[in-house]
């Protein structure tokens, strides 16, 4: 049946078509919808889980593949850093059932900390990489990825980028088969237990496999040449779509180009690439993130002693950071052909400056209240606020300005500890706060808390518990008691975990009760050791209220304190008085506590 599918949905359905049996992952934009879609469309016999983090997820998928069943693990690119320990070793051990490691890269970056390139990781780990250009190609390619994985007994990378993950296309979806069950786990210590001897033997096999696969991939349909022009363009992933449109836009000049598409950047299809080199006079490479294809060509030229001009990121002809697009590529290609090209329009030369609109915490978001309580409690004191990954990273923006550091998942807690140890012998130490969300706490916060208790750090851990993984679209986690299989499981209690670790004090407060929250912060800030406050209040994007607040415009003195202190998107000024956008406001009540003349009330 023909369906409009997002790239991630296409990959999910492709995996079901390939008979996947076990699916594990950790949410992360732009990868999340793959696992969600498999859960939603599960014909019944597929195990789907959000694991606590990417390392757990990868190990779960590996265990399943040891039995001969097919498995997939999903994550975003920085999640791969977390999963890299098991993955590096897994490639030496190998798998029995097909196992795909799905990693979503994020050129831009649009919603990530880094512009890292998983194609490099493939080369480093010696794991083949499949790189689709469109959702429709991804649907087919993922099925081949499973087949290759199984044929060679190796995990394979399936890497997509944001514009493939989050774009939709019309795709003809087939009838779902039964999952591949495999023969079950068969004991064999010489195969499943990694030892230096096994690794030495495996390394030799990996090297041989690289050569063999490069040959095989040269004939693969995803590595292909179109056109016969003497200016060669090499591209891969979504860049191919941009290149195709850009070349078409060059009208009469389009025949001077030929395009080499690389669908498997590692192992690089050298034979096919050589053939291409021999048919062109000049090469330009368009790819996002790192110059992986470009470097492969440069290497090939050296290896075969061929002279050819290569333009790309290394020569600064193509931008080396951020996304590519039709316009940027058209401009570069037009430059090569001496054609005039301008993307600007004369009529919009005087386009007025529209104020920027960066993302903000939702109106009524409980995180705003938590941050504000800590800010109020620490007024006039030396304090450092370490943030983490989630919606609450947005607490960095004015006017809250409550995120002094943010590094990676779980790092807020341990960075705070490091900040504290650096001044352990000083008298006027600042108070260190670590903000961590509930899902992040389970993913990688607990070990950091244990570290702090063991090594005697003085920090206040603020767990912002909104009962969901909000940033990535509200996934369940171990604290909620619901699984992706639709089952109820034991909800793991964050305060009980913290108490068991042996913190100085653990309290739970409702951040919307500002007085209680501020008092708790004041009290804990002065206690020694590791303390925790759990700010518990649900994410307003899932627990909707019909209520909203209202400004009594006769009483409002127009002081703007509500706006300047909170930055709630529902609040704005109109004719010198505050106004509340009813459609956005959730009546969280925070602005009521701030207003000096108490003129904000629940709407009648």
């Amino acid at each position: 049946m023909k369906e409009l599918l997002m790239g991630n949905e296409a990959i999910a359905l492709g995996a079901i078509m390939a008979g996947v049996k076990v699916v594990a992952g950790y949410p992360g934009t732009p990868s999340t919808e793959v696992l969600e879609t498999i859960a939603k469309r599960n014909p019944g016999k597929i195990h789907v889980e959000w694991s606590t983090n990417e390392k757990s997820a990868l190990e779960v998928a590996a265990g399943a593949a040891y039995t001969g069943a097919r498995s997939i693990v999903t994550m975003k690119q920085v999640g791969l850093n977390v999963a890299s320990d098991p993955l590096m070793s897994l490639n030496y051990v190998g798998v029995k059932g097909g196992m795909v490691v799905y990693v979503a890269d994020d050129p831009g970056p649009i919603s990530s900390q880094t512009e890292q390139d998983t194609r490099h990781f493939g080369k480093y780990a010696k794991i083949p990489v499949f790189d689709p250009a469109t959702p429709e190609e991804a649907y087919e390619m993922i099925q081949d990825a499973f087949a290759y994985s199984e044929k060679y007994g190796m995990p394979v990378f399936f890497r997509a980028t944001t514009r493939v993950c989050h774009s939709c296309a019309t795709i003809d979806v087939g009838e779902f088969p039964e999952p591949t069950e495999g023969e079950g786990f068969i004991k064999d210590t010489s195969r499943w237990v990694i030892f230096p001897k096994l690794s030495y033997e495996s390394k030799k096999k990996l090297e041989a496999r690289e050569v063999e696969l490069a040959k095989e991939f040269s004939k693969l349909k995803y590595n292909f040449i179109t056109g016969t022009g003497r200016i060669g363009i090499a591209c891969g992933g979504v860049s191919r779509a941009y290149v195709c449109e850009a070349v078409n836009d060059l009208d009469e000049n389009k025949d001077i180009f030929s395009i080499f598409n690389v669908g498997t950047p590692y192992p690089f299809p050298e034979d096919a690439a050589l053939e291409f080199i021999n048919s062109i006079d000049k090469l330009i490479c368009f790819e996002e993130l790192d110059p992986v294809i470009e470097d492969a060509f440069t290497y090939l030229l050296g290896k075969h002693n061929i002279k050819l001009e290569i333009l790309g990121k290394r020569t600064m002809d193509v931008p080396n950071a951020g996304e590519l697009g039709v316009v940027s590529i058209t401009k570069i290609l037009a430059g090569l052909t001496g054609k005039e090209y301008t993307e600007s329009q004369e009529r919009f030369k005087d386009l007025p400056d529209i104020p920027g609109r960066p993302p903000v915490l939702c109106a009524g978001c409980p995180h705003r209240a938590s941050f504000y309580a800590v800010k109020q409690a620490m007024k006039g004191r030396k304090a450092i606020f370490c943030g983490d990954i989630g919606c609450y990273t947005l607490g960095n923006a004015a006017p809250l300005d409550m995120t002094d550091t943010c590094l990676c998942m779980g790092a807020g807690i341990t960075i705070a500890e490091g900040l504290d140890y650096a001044e352990f012998d000083k008298d006027d130490r600042s108070v260190k706060f670590a903000f961590v969300g509930d899902s992040t706490f389970f993913a990688s916060g607990i070990t950091g808390v244990i570290n702090g208790v063991y090594n005697k750090a003085n920090i206040v851990v603020c767990v912002l518990d909104n009962s969901t993984t909000a940033m990535t679209g509200h996934q369940p986690h171990p604290g909620i008691g619901k699984t992706m299989m639709g089952d109820v499981s034991n909800a793991i209690s964050i305060p009980k975990v913290l108490e068991a670790i042996g913190l100085t004090k653990v309290v739970t407060v409702d951040p919307l009760n500002q007085e209680e929250a501020i008092n708790a912060v004041k009290e804990l800030a002065d206690l020694p050791g590791v303390k925790a406050i759990i700010f518990k209040s649900p994410c307003v994007a899932i627990v909707k209220t019909k209520k909203s607040a209202e400004v009594d415009r006769d009483k409002c003195i127009g002081c703007k304190k509500c706006i300047n202190e909170l930055g709630c998107p529902a609040l704005y000024m109109k004719d010198g008085r505050a106004c509340i956008d009813k459609a956005l406001c959730t009546d969280c009540g925070l602005c009521k506590t701030v207003c000096p003349v108490k003129c904000i009330k629940e709407e009648a």
Binding site: K2, L4, T29, P30, I110, S111, T134, R163, V164, H166, S167, C168, A169, T170, V238, A241, Y242, C244, E245, N248, G325, V326, V327, T330, E343, S344, Q345, R347, F348, L351, P352, I354, P355, G356, R357, P358, P359, V360, L361, C362, C391, L394, A397, A398, P399, M471, G473, K560, I563, N564, G567, C568, P569, L571, Y572, M573, D581, A583
Partner: protein
């Protein structure tokens, strides 16, 4: 090929609108692509949805100067995205300003009238849709997206029929919301007459 750019503020429902349009195209046997902003920007940031109908060999994103129709759920976002419009392209803009927090904090005046006047001074065909009025008439604040879909198809510039959009709405929406959205669609269409 037809290229549509829908823009607005995270939470306004641009994604649903682009999906309805793409699915309506599929109903008519055309190949459709969309690309959407998903992730952090959905929290009240600028969002854009791209719809490209009837061409396989194209970028999922509408390049500058190539949109046949620019559909803005918010006047400021319409201005911001004008460079995407084709010289002969149409602008459909919902006159329902959402003041960015940055403007509120900086005390910058955010005047939607001026923005719409600017667009009218530069673009030949501009359709201003009164989103609040439609919402009041339909009794829901969540129908602007479907109303704008109505305006889009009625202009004829997307070459999509009313029947295919109605079929998609019937397939996609929960029955209890159908009537309300059908009304919004009709009200939206009236603006393009």
């Amino acid at each position: 090929m037809k290229s549509l750019l829908l823009c607005g503020v995270g939470g306004q429902g641009t994604v649903l609108a682009s999906r309805i349009l793409a699915q309506a195209a599929m109903e008519e046997g055309k190949f459709a692509r969309t690309a959407e902003t998903i992730g952090m920007a959905q929290r009240g940031g600028c969002v854009v949805s791209h719809v490209r109908i009837d061409s396989k060999d194209c970028s999922p994103l509408v390049p500058l100067k190539k949109a046949d129709i620019l559909i803005a759920f918010e006047p400021g976002e319409a201005v911001r995205n004008l460079p995407y419009l084709k010289p002969e392209g149409i602008v459909i803009v919902c006159d329902n300003p959402i003041c960015p927090v940055t403007a509120s904090l900086a005390g910058i005046e955010y005047d939607s009238r001026k923005m719409i006047d600017y667009i009218k001074s530069k673009v030949e065909r501009v359709i201003v849709v009164d989103g609040n009025k439609i919402c009041e008439e339909c009794g829901s604040s969540k129908v602007v997206n479907v109303a704008l879909v109505g305006t889009i198809i009625k202009t004829g510039a997307a070459e999509l029929s009313e029947e295919s959009v109605k079929k998609v709405l019937k397939d996609k929406l929960k029955p209890e919301f159908l009537e309300m959205n059908m009304k919004a669609l009709t009200l939206g269409m009236e603006y393009a007459i």
